[in-house]
Symmetry: C2
Subunit: 366 residues, 2 copies
């Protein structure tokens, strides 16, 4: 069956993939144990380091971002370890689930959906938890549109000698994050968000402090064993057969991104996001997140207005796919992803569609 | 950097991907939580069932085949369990490694590289191991070119009430395998072998007996938790974001394969493989495997002839990439993959190149 989506993705990942990246997918495969793949891998890694702003090697896994999250837990947390998980949304909760599955005692620092985690609360919690080595956090919580103050988290964890592990999947390459300078020990990313590539590749980089912990870790791991990734990286390879075609698209995306420069991209994305927020507020809409990310905009539905219907209208009538809220937020918020390379004109059009949907549907329900 | 491989893959996976499959990769992404993806997934699963010859659902993981191997172990083997691992090559040994990592006591039934595992030995071992529930086997051992008698293994394990888990990655869709009729409890496959798709997707199907074991299993798993795959399959989804683009290629490959019919493909592949073996033997070459697979042909290098140089010659001069032996077999064997859709004419050309390389290089060393 030939699948032809009748809409353009404005979801907060996967996002619409630029034509040039899609075109790159159809190249013949290079063999993954050949020197030529090694060159491709090393070019990709070098550019990923610029996006992570780190001198540490970045490892590319063939999996979704969740696979890289599991890699972090399985390589850093031993059964019976105490960990702190900060969460205020669906993806923060995923850190809790994975940790529980891998045998950790989880101490939670939770806030209601839509809020950010106050760094001072993290500090307080750490000071009363001497036995806790690992702290899990979410940079950009896609389920609520919040971005956490990772810089402050990093400063605290560094000062108190803890290992900070950050799910940066949804915000990497969009929201500012400086892995080394901010003392973030583990950063995780995925191909289908700020990189605007098809899903299927995940990224992970570790500080030396984190690597020392990996060597001591006693959890079961094989496919996601980072020691294997490290070993094979030395010969320009991945331990298991990688999704070669997806590397072709990633390579182009990274070339464009690094040519532009990550600082410039952060700035442009910040400008775009505040433009979106301004436009929405001008039209009387309320934003949901307390500390909004630049990767997506999350709008709180006015009383009596069903977000599900708004998303449906935009999809059916205007052929753009926005995202509904998940679980208890279903119908209560609408999420628009703008982590991909998008112009202000495209953005304006999508906002007009959203506004049109709200007006038409509110008229109907009155 | 634009990677343009200067050779055609004749490696035993990844294999050269037909142009039409590559072309399918560049389609716009469908959103993986949308009904349209559900349709694609269900079409793919229905056709995979025909290739597996099973009524059980097949789950598609975003990972290499090794990920599906880990899924089998992590979902079926609890720490402290006794398992039997049969092996006579690198991929059989991988079953041992994964089982050890996940806390199993491994009882090995090993044969030298190039040999198959005698089913009667497996039966003997099982009869003296009452506590062993799971038996791990390799259908097509890519490192040696051997195919094991999975039908006999299935009969034995069924009779003795054990769970038979088969790595069929390299042979699925090429060497005959009838999951249900042969009583194979778990079958694992990968996109980049007999399906001739790019790597990045892996497949796994389980019998009801195996599912009952999954429910009891106490190992750590999250990304590869098959209970999640089962749950999400009910709504036409995968638990984590899948490598959507790769599904497009797989869909075309499966459409072609099922249109042709799996029995016909097995027969054609068997004919092609015996043609290759005949041609080689006619020219005086010796085959390495005792019980050769139809997915690849492995040639034992004559005394004094270095397989590494043969592979190099074919790559440099004739632009075809064959495979060397791995580890202790390096230089001692040459492996040619023919699991992809290839014609007899293409095959003949590759064999001529191989023969040419052997003649020229032996002349040089004389």
């Amino acid at each position: 069956m030939v699948i032809k989506p009748q809409y353009k993705l404005w979801t907060p990942g996967p996002v619409a993939v630029p034509r040039a990246y899609l075109k790159a997918l159809d190249r013949e495969l290079v063999y993954h144990r050949e020197e030529l793949f090694g060159k491709l891998l090393s070019a990709v890694v070098k550019r990923l380091q610029q996006i992570f702003v780190t001198n540490q090697p970045v490892y590319v896994l063939t999996s979704s971002g969740t696979g890289a999250m599991e890699a972090a837990v399985a390589n850093l947390v031993s059964p019976g370890d105490r960990v702190i998980v900060t969460h205020a949304g669906k993806f923060g909760e995923r850190w809790r689930e994975i940790n529980l599955r891998f045998g950790a005692y989880v101490d939670e620092l939770a806030r209601p959906y839509g809020e950010a985690i106050p760094p001072e609360e993290l500090e307080r919690k750490l000071k009363s938890n001497d036995a806790t080595k690992c702290v899990f956090a979410t940079m950009t919580e896609t389920s609520t549109g919040v971005t956490n103050d990772i810089r402050a988290f990093g400063e605290i964890c560094y000062r108190l000698n803890r290992i900070l592990i950050v799910d940066a999947i949804a915000g990497l390459g969009v929201d500012e994050l400086q892995m080394d300078a901010w003392h973030v020990d583990v950063v995780i990313g995925g191909s289908q968000k700020g990189f605007a590539c098809p899903p299927g590749l995940a990224f992970i980089a570790l500080s030396e402090k984190a690597w020392a912990q990996v060597e001591k870790c006693k959890n079961s791991r094989y496919y996601f064993d980072l020691r294997q990734y490290k070993k094979f990286a030395e010969k320009g390879q991945t331990p298991w057969t990688p999704a070669i075609s997806l590397f072709y698209a990633l390579d182009i995306a990274l070339t464009r991104m690094t040519r532009r420069g990550i600082k410039k991209i952060w700035q442009e994305k910040a400008e775009l996001a505040s433009f979106v927020r301004r436009e929405l507020e001008k039209r009387g809409y309320t934003l949901f997140p307390q500390r909004p990310s630049n990767a997506l905009t999350v709008i709180r539905m006015p009383e009596g207005m069903d977000g599900t219907k708004i998303v449906d209208y935009c999809k059916q009538v205007r052929k753009v796919l926005l995202s509904n809220g998940q679980a208890e937020l279903r119908g209560k918020i609408v999420r628009i992803g703008h982590m991909a390379p998008v112009t202000k004109a495209e953005m304006t059009r999508v906002l007009r569609y959203f506004d049109e949907a709200c007006r038409r549907l509110s008229r109907r329900t009155v």
